[in-house]
């Protein structure tokens, strides 16, 4: 309960801050709270404007993150997409998506793990978590 209040207070203050501030402060990655909660913050800051708040993406341009093998199946491939970006033909449910995704190597292992955990457990997705150790391994193998 306390946690919920804390989260909503944080979200509210974030909302007001981003509305009023001309220049937004660089947000530090929160180390408290669950992976999924921290992941949502990463998602909101980095992924949302292309993949949309509901993960549905944009027709023809940005692929959806809902109920697709790209998100649900192989964690290694999914981590690689975040690290290296994506510039390949992708077809999901008969639709193709043409925009290029830029690499996000600059994110920390923990941030990538959190955001992928959030994506794999949101928008109706029900898949396992991604850990920072898994991200570290994929990054090192490259």
């Amino acid at each position: 309960m306390k946690l919920k209040i804390a989260i909503s207070a944080f979200a509210l203050s974030f909302l007001f801050f981003s509305l009023s501030a001309q220049v937004r402060p660089v947000k530090k990655h929160r180390s408290t709270g669950s992976s999924i909660v921290r992941g949502k913050i990463v998602y909101t800051n980095i992924c949302l404007s292309c993949h949309m708040a509901n993960g549905a993406g944009v027709p023809h341009l940005n692929p959806p993150l809902i109920n697709t093998d790209y998100v649900l199946r192989n964690k290694t491939n999914l981590i690689k997409i975040v690290l290296n970006g994506f510039n390949e033909d992708v077809e999901i449910n008969g639709q193709t998506y043409s925009n290029t995704m830029t690499p996000h190597k600059d994110l920390k292992d923990r941030q990538i793990a959190d955001v992928l955990t959030y994506v794999r457990k949101s928008f109706g997705n029900k898949a396992s978590s991604v850990t920072a150790a898994e991200v570290k391994k994929v990054r090192a193998a490259k």
């Binding site: 981003s18 509305l19 501030a21 001309q22 220049v23 937004r24 402060p25 660089v26 947000k27 909101t44 800051n45 980095i46 949302l48 404007s49 292309c50 949309m52 708040a53 549905a56 993406g57 944009v58 027709p59 023809h60 341009l61 940005n62 970006g85 510039n87 033909d89 043409s98 925009n99 290029t100 830029t102 690499p103």
Partner: protein, 419 residues
């Protein structure tokens, strides 16, 4: 006695009801071809709109012949056919035939030929004296092998009066950052990010046979030839993600409003400055891009082309048409209609666009503020996934009516003016 009094009292009420009924019948008579709701669109008084065809697929650009035939290009071929031929009669357009084994955007008619583009080639088909394609199975190839690297790969085409065809080759990148890491000059501009000019009647040209007519244009979908100026006008889709990439320089609100979607009047050799700059429609300035040392305020080198007009960020202009008809009121003559497909890159701010705008012109130059001409395409939800319709292509019919395509569901709207 009492009932007489009551009658006198009620008389004005009855009269008003009668008047309302009479007027309702009258206006129904006036708009016998338009359905009462103007096909869900909001348009200026005196205009009417009808959906003359529906559920055609991803209808992109279109042309209407003097005989009332409509050629419309589908984004992806349906049943192996990418161009539909419709004939309009009595307020409805019926699909008569289809051809072309490729999807695409561009379509144009000039000097007895129908020109059409896939995402990498330009073809043409000879027309008979009724503007019908003589041999739909045997197009001539004008250009093949245009740059097609998925992103911004749709090819829009237009012809001038001197035997040339112009095609947009969009940049396969948002802002070139993955290709120009050392900031030595964006290599994408070598084979994309501009308008190329080819001979309209020379077969089997390659991209290298053409002229890079104008450069520094990120992606153009709407373009038209201005007959008054004898000049090419294009609409650029501005860059995305100012906030995502530079959160300390741009708020989410600024990133939604910026940069402007620009209209450019092009001459051979022009450089509109992508990826080095963007246009800020609120400051009325060309601003140095943050990737190249900009801070949101520093102005860009003045050598780059000034836009002819500017519109709010991410509206996505997909159609441009100079109105040369006589049906619409005088103020529309030689002005520009712009079909704004509607935004996706304004989140978390609300999405915008999804409308047709009118830009007044005077003596071949934008003159005065733009205004929304037709709105309501999106319906209840203005976002790319859930919008009911998204405007894309524009054409003028033989009677001066305006045609608008929707590539979300495949509606063709006809907007007419009745005096």
């Amino acid at each position: 006695m009492k009932s007489k009094k009551l009658l006198i009292l009620l008389l004005p009420v009855v009269a008003v009801i009668g008047l309302i009924l009479f007027n309702a019948c009258k206006s129904a008579d006036n708009s016998n071809t338009a359905d009462a709701g103007n096909a869900g669109l909001t348009i200026p008084a005196g205009f009417s709109a009808t959906a003359i065809a529906e559920n055609l697929g991803g209808t992109r650009h279109l042309v209407v012949t003097p005989q009332g035939d409509i050629y419309v290009h589908l984004e992806g071929a349906r049943n192996g056919k990418g161009i539909l031929v419709l004939h309009e009669e009595g307020g409805k357009a019926i699909v008569k035939s289809s051809f072309a084994n490729y999807g695409g955007t561009g379509i144009a008619i000039k000097n007895g030929y129908l020109y059409a583009s896939s995402n990498s080639d330009i073809y043409r088909y000879k027309l008979n004296d009724k503007n019908q394609v003589i041999d739909p199975a045997k197009p001539e190839t004008i250009v093949s092998g245009l740059t097609n690297k998925r992103m911004h790969n749709s090819k829009s085409i237009i012809l001038d009066n001197d035997g040339n065809i112009y095609v947009n080759i969009g940049a396969y990148s948002n802002i070139c950052s993955d290709y120009d890491k050392d900031k030595k000059g964006c290599p994408v501009l070598n084979d994309a990010g501009g308008i190329w000019q080819f001979k309209a009647d020379k077969l089997n040209q390659k991209q290298s046979d053409g002229i890079r007519y104008a450069t520094g244009l990120r992606n153009v979908v709407g373009l038209d030839w201005n007959q008054q100026d004898n000049q090419l006008f294009v609409m650029q889709h501005g860059r995305d993600a100012l906030h995502d990439l530079y959160p300390s320089l741009y708020t989410t609100k600024q990133s939604a409003d910026l940069p402007a979607e620009c209209m450019f009047a092009l001459k051979k050799g022009d450089n509109a400055g992508w990826p080095y700059l963007y246009y800020d429609w609120m400051q009325h300035k060309k601003i140095l891009g943050p990737e190249y040392g900009g801070d949101g305020k520093k102005e860009a080198d003045s050598k780059y082309l000034e836009p002819a007009a500017a519109y709010p960020g991410h509206f996505a202009p997909d159609g441009l048409l100079f109105y040369t008809g006589n049906q619409f009121p005088e103020k529309y003559k030689n002005g520009a209609f712009i079909a704004f497909h509607g935004s996706w890159n304004r989140a978390p701010e609300p999405q915008e666009g999804y409308c047709v705008v009118f830009q007044p012109f005077k003596n071949g130059k934008p003159d005065g503020k733009w205004e929304i001409f037709a709105d309501g395409f999106a319906g209840a939800q203005k976002d790319p996934g859930n919008a009911a319709h998204r405007p894309c292509g524009l054409a003028q019919g033989p009677d001066g009516s305006l045609y608008v395509t929707d590539d979300q569901k495949g509606t063709i709207y006809k907007i007419s003016y009745k005096k």
